[in-house]
Symmetry: D3
Subunit: 242 residues, 6 copies
Amino acid sequence: MRIDGRNTDDLRPVQLTPDFIPHAEGSVLIEVGRTRVICTASVEESVPLFMRGSNKGWITAEYSMLPRATESRTPREASLGRKSGRTQEIQRLIGRSLRTAANLDLLGERTIWVDCDVIEADGGTRTASITGAFVAMVQAMDKLVDKGALNTVPIRSSIAAVSVGIVDGVPMLDLNYEEDANAEVDFNVVMTDQREFVELQGTAERQPFSKTRLDALLDLAESGIAQLIDTQQQALGAMRKR
Amino acid sequence: MRIDGRNTDDLRPVQLTPDFIPHAEGSVLIEVGRTRVICTASVEESVPLFMRGSNKGWITAEYSMLPRATESRTPREASLGRKSGRTQEIQRLIGRSLRTAANLDLLGERTIWVDCDVIEADGGTRTASITGAFVAMVQAMDKLVDKGALNTVPIRSSIAAVSVGIVDGVPMLDLNYEEDANAEVDFNVVMTDQREFVELQGTAERQPFSKTRLDALLDLAESGIAQLIDTQQQALGAMRKR
Amino acid sequence: MRIDGRNTDDLRPVQLTPDFIPHAEGSVLIEVGRTRVICTASVEESVPLFMRGSNKGWITAEYSMLPRATESRTPREASLGRKSGRTQEIQRLIGRSLRTAANLDLLGERTIWVDCDVIEADGGTRTASITGAFVAMVQAMDKLVDKGALNTVPIRSSIAAVSVGIVDGVPMLDLNYEEDANAEVDFNVVMTDQREFVELQGTAERQPFSKTRLDALLDLAESGIAQLIDTQQQALGAMRKR
Amino acid sequence: MRIDGRNTDDLRPVQLTPDFIPHAEGSVLIEVGRTRVICTASVEESVPLFMRGSNKGWITAEYSMLPRATESRTPREASLGRKSGRTQEIQRLIGRSLRTAANLDLLGERTIWVDCDVIEADGGTRTASITGAFVAMVQAMDKLVDKGALNTVPIRSSIAAVSVGIVDGVPMLDLNYEEDANAEVDFNVVMTDQREFVELQGTAERQPFSKTRLDALLDLAESGIAQLIDTQQQALGAMRKR
Amino acid sequence: MRIDGRNTDDLRPVQLTPDFIPHAEGSVLIEVGRTRVICTASVEESVPLFMRGSNKGWITAEYSMLPRATESRTPREASLGRKSGRTQEIQRLIGRSLRTAANLDLLGERTIWVDCDVIEADGGTRTASITGAFVAMVQAMDKLVDKGALNTVPIRSSIAAVSVGIVDGVPMLDLNYEEDANAEVDFNVVMTDQREFVELQGTAERQPFSKTRLDALLDLAESGIAQLIDTQQQALGAMRKR
Amino acid sequence: MRIDGRNTDDLRPVQLTPDFIPHAEGSVLIEVGRTRVICTASVEESVPLFMRGSNKGWITAEYSMLPRATESRTPREASLGRKSGRTQEIQRLIGRSLRTAANLDLLGERTIWVDCDVIEADGGTRTASITGAFVAMVQAMDKLVDKGALNTVPIRSSIAAVSVGIVDGVPMLDLNYEEDANAEVDFNVVMTDQREFVELQGTAERQPFSKTRLDALLDLAESGIAQLIDTQQQALGAMRKR
């Protein structure tokens, strides 16, 4: 039994609140346990300089935490004058994952900006961001189809993300902050609805790990991501019915 | 009648959701019409260098908008590498107002950091921030009293803030974004529960204004602020009962 | 009687030295007591990107203090790598005031850059900057008329600025540094020659203030600004005769 | 057969030139095909603030590329005024890997700074950096033992790193730049001499990949890393004999 | 005859106005033709970290130009967020020259900050800065002696600076802006009252120059500097008499 | 006899390794004693904005030191977020010298970027950079001629650079780090193969120096530069034969 009563293969409760920022093209509040992230998708009718004339679209992500998302206050990056390495690493991961899920060839020469702003952080903020960002992005694409700017939703596969790790020698799904802080091994996994990998980032925080352990972790991740993709589909289905 | 059906002396609906970020010492979500701001108060057991040994406390504020708080996306200040002049002006205003409301001599050598993060912006974000920040700050002070760190809540007066302005020649209370964008004159007023002024910032956006007009605007502000202080007291009262 | 022997409603001696930087389109050294500011106006035959094609002009201001303008040396902002919030707030105030005084529709697609560089600071640097900047700006506009680039001087009203405040309970006009440092209430007022307000920024530095006090302060400001506008007109008249 | 004539499971020729920067505590030039990186290790007799008094050591890494390491010139980060997200991601990876290899408890309160400067880049610069950095770090530790500052070399396991990827559908070991630019899947793997994982970073550049593919890639990585660790040991052995 | 009627070995008219910023420990306005620089010297009773406990003093300089010192407006370095290479080069030159003139061993553990702010620039701003800065620095040292903080003025030699150059094939003393812009060779020379060199910086702007030419230029510089040192001594003598 | 056994007029051993970075248009590793610098020249088929349409070329230089080029580690400028004044001064010197050596009128509208990266520093890094940079630049120009982009190598004169200085009262050629740290006078001289000066930068580090001393130093510099130009010519001759 884990500190919050879950089994090792349990996700925390997941809730998606669509249209959290009503005027945005896409938006969702994702809550995974006490981790809460506002994800918005904004459509800009142009692409970065290096893609002009390519007839392709672009998707880019930014990630940030409110100063008091964390247990004690974290200084604001705008006050420090620059983004930390951690922030940049996370937003590069989110952007890459979304671009792999999408079909940029069918998006037209436009950019989707995805913003993930963590308002409360209890572990797994980057994976919750990806899972929520996918929903906001698809909602924005749906609106482009609705208004006739696109013929089809330019998605190649659904994606979601989860963390897994080894805590006190035991592989566990969806670590909260306390578990994460004590993990010997820490993985972030992004997968498709076809159970294929999009991103795999594993770190031996305290000690190296064997191939056997890796396989156990990836099995846990796969089962968690399947559930997350179900939750995403229900939210998107509900939004489309309206 | 105004574009959203209000009378010239009507506030928009105001809602305060305390404990919006549960682990923060103080926190509230303030909603004024569609303007929504997360205000948190964080207690740090030290003061800035220039106040060490003074036996006084300090209160400082930071203000930011999520990129998609605005109708179209605004670039993130952490990405630009510096805060805009507007942001700095607003957070200096919030900080000054809170320090005037508080009694720094009774706070002890500690700092209260107040963060105001706008998640949706429809005019009046700086005044909503002040009104919400006061509640978060008092909640944090209450907790210091509860745990015995302070004998008394170090507040000299309650404060709240509202915008007033002249739109199409008519003085109006609590401008929304569309009204604000068309205002000839724009005022931000911070007042106490004793109906005294803490801050007064008025700008002739399009044409200079007379003393008569100024007086009419300040009357509107006074009535609005009285209502806002009532709402604050109800929220604080409810929190203290728990 | 005040520390420097003035009555509460006395301005300090004011002197305007036009053409202080001879090659600039407009320039003046303004001295208000020991506060000295070099104001220059520079004409650039283009406007910022967001105004291209609007057929309107633009006016923008920058403000700075020499390191040793202050009693003890203040670090240089270029050394720190960024402007302080105070500097940005002041230069935004100067720019807004000048734009309200001018008729941008008649300026043509050109920008007037106004630079206010404080060489000695004894209180009231921002209001002295506005009073001097107006003269430098009009001189630059005069030259545009002289060389046929404009038919008329694109000014809607003359403006000047002054500080007022409450020191030891007494409302006073034109605070010097020592008075300002002890003021309970501090106001900066920008008015036109028609005695209408352009900007009003009041702060309760120590304690909130009543409407009665506000009215007394604004009366003082009005009388001071009337005198400053006289001084400006004399300087501009002398320049135009040459 | 690959574009440079290698088999899919061949490393490029690897060469380690120790003492490349003679006055550094540890230094090596690592060449992997045409990829060349200067790795130095510098010992500083203090630790970062957050570790003072912990009786532990710290290891940190910085990574950079000379502007003309790349086929066409890349602007210098010192000229841009900040490190790119890619640079920060890489130097965080190098630092984490080295800290996992080392026993910080036995290092004493000192810091080892590892600098990896790429002078020529033909793919795999981050993995070559790790492989070279390990040698430079151990050399610096050896010197601490030699001069009596440490009793034992504070290493828990040898580590090395390699890239693997899928190019035109074929899993390959140690991608050069051209292969990397065309890879569908791209992995960086850091492993110990016990064939356990330290870091695993895999990205679907073009399309998601299955567990089967993952396993094939990890097998390739394991064989490559075993060879790299042999090469490191020979270099370290030769250095220790002198 | 030169464009402004001078002979090749004529200085422009030089004027020193001491106490230009009365509250500074040392200050002078130096005017060399139309080049005008405000020089101040500020005494700080501490030294930089690397000199603590050395029982020596330190002298450092900063240089800046007001935006409209130049014929057309130059953007402000505080707005750009960093000092240009030119500015840094000049302030390093001023600081080195003053430190060579002074006896840091006799200054005590204090710093003299010298600020040179150019209000009008017509060539030779760096040399005028050095000539003026020396006077401001000595005035500040005199005050330290007057108040008993020092026994003796810690100066080893008087210094002054001038530019020389070759224009249209002719060596000339003290170039104004137009001459400087057309110079083939451009020299800045700092010398003592003993006719010894402190700094020599010569650049072939258009074509290399021979030793014979160099000697001619240095002769011109020597004669100009002798006159400047006379002017400095008169100004310092007058200040000391008061 | 000097600390490393040289006579006062001896250069340290000089070695030029051309094509050190094979894919660059020009590259050389220059070694002067233990000072080692990688110089590359990169051709870009455009010029900076201010030169567009001028039908002229441009040459610009950047200079940097690897962190461990120095005896103890120097923080990386990209980590500090800005280049030091020293770095900017040096790269401005290198760029000016190369532009004087070249004939920009014959280069066509293209830019040559010269990068000088010091991998080991034992005094004289800026002069070694210039001597090496000239070779890399000419090699890049040779390639432009070879591929028909230019008719002739656009060089007006060969240049090389050396340091001279006075140590313990004795004028010496080509100071190493230890000598440089103890020098009373320190000169950097750039000259042509016609024995004419391009740049002369002399500083009295400890005490002013006479014209007699200056002449002795320039004689030493001239003899050293003649030898360096020979070495450059041999390297360029060898490269052209291949």
